[in-house]
Amino acid sequence: MKKNISLAILAIVLLVLPLLFQSRYTQHILNMILIYVMLGISVNLIFGYIGALTLGQAAFFGIGAYTAAIISTKLGLSFLPCVLCSAVMGCLAGFIIGIPTLRLKGPYFAIATIGLNNIICIIFLNWEHLTGGAVGISGIPYASILGLQFDTERKVYFLLLVSVFLIFLLYRNMISSHYGKVMIAVRDNELAASAMGIDTAKVKVIVLAISTTIAAIAGAYYAHITNYVAPDAFPVMESITFLIIIVLGGAGFKYGPIYGAVVVVILNEYLQYFEQFNMLIYGVLIMILLLFLPSGIAGIVEIAKAKYYEKKKIYYLKEVGIDEMK
């Protein structure tokens, strides 16, 4: 009950947020944050809860974006069918790629996903009559549902807010359900989990497919909001950015993706002050933040929470225990 009240407060605050910010630029940044929250959730599921280090999530983001772009420009389908097709493509891609590669352990899986992301980008770049090649696909229509066009930053904000809220609910219920415990068991000790009778391979593949589906949905939104997709929006660097979001936000924590997306997106905007120095500062800041946020922002919030309730029990240390994932 208490959880739902706080969720409701959060929802109300988020709903009135765009009214506080009259600047359309700030609204755009809020939209970017929401898209990155979706992507953060997708990476958190597979990395934070299953422990598979993915450096190829941008590939699925791209698959979703390209699917939506191709379907809407070539077949003229409207927004919702596009999102659905993207989700299906993302899910299929997750299954096809997950079944062989999820057997790989630790860094090997990460390397396989880097290779995969590169392959997908090369396909985007070279399958010209479908993907438009290097210049991509432009002129993707704005999202529209039942004749309502989402063509301003504020309208897009509400569209994204509702979608992110739904995805977040799904994700929250998933990780707090029995299945969430199974996922954590697989992450923390695969051997023990399989000894308990869990089909760990199946759990991993299913979670990867869910995660890639969310990434692909985010891609569909991206295509309809920016009206343009090109291969260089989905490189491995982008996958690394997703991972940075989740690591800074707190991997394996429910609210990790939100904190991370807010910090990384806003950080990049602040850095525009510094012209050609901005990337140098960005790199150094990442290194420093990682030093001081050993379990992400969510970890600090958890510790603060624990202190707040004066329940400094080992229980919390365990929950903050990304260390224990090692």
């Binding site: 990395f47 280090l53 090997y108 396989a112 590169n118 396909i123 050609q276 090692k326």
Partner: protein
Amino acid sequence: MITSLLSQQIISGIAIGSIYALIALSFSLTVRALNVIHFAQGEFFMLGAFGAISCYMLLGLPFWLAIIITTLVVAALGIALQWVFYNKLWKSHHVFLLMSTQGTAIALANGAMLIWGPDAWRFPKIFSENVYKIGGLTIPEEMLWISFFAILIMIGFNIFLYQTKYGMGFRAAAQDRETAQLMGVNLAVADSFVFGSSAGLGAIGGLLIAPILFITPYIGPIFTIKGFTAAILGGLGSIQGAIFGGFLLGIIENIVTFWISSTYKDAIVFLILILVLLIKPSGLLQKKTIEKV
């Protein structure tokens, strides 16, 4: 005709492969000892080349001195990064270390851009530009030199690791840090050795290729990705494997470009990489080792 074309591709592949081998070697060091993929490896390479440019072209020092200074400075940088940033992350999940090296890569590349500018640099030739023609095959001499140095460095490392006491200690530390420490291995020194030598080795690689390739501040990531592809093909963490993988990658790239498609060359290379990971994750060269449970 076909055989001579094929052998020409193989020779050209070995030529570029010698460069890949050098990076793969520095990659393998950090992976074998610390189980860390060091994303900034290509940046050390780039710094080595720029160090040579600064010392040799801008300060006018003799080449041998430029090599020594650059290698030492870059190795010191690697060690400094380890002490300031990586040591503390050691206890956390390895993704922190991975992301930290990625932050390092971004910072180094952009720092270099601010110092040396975004334009490309060319280092004066130190190797002869001769080209040998043997039976219709073209063999550039400078590539022979690089292959020679790559193999020399490999032999040097092998001697150090397998013939000396400290090398044995570092190998032990790579397998079981805690127990190695109990035996008296100073882990801090061992880690610094790994980070320092892999950075320094990267720098030497950069120095060697500076006269052949052109150097820009953003050259790093390409070498990073080629380096670890090569390292995996040969067997992640194995020193001979790294050299072998480097040459193999060069040959595969050339043959694929020549006979299949230059457009999909990289895609095919990555596909081979994934297949190797799936079928023989210990690399093409290594014997399958029994995994410790």
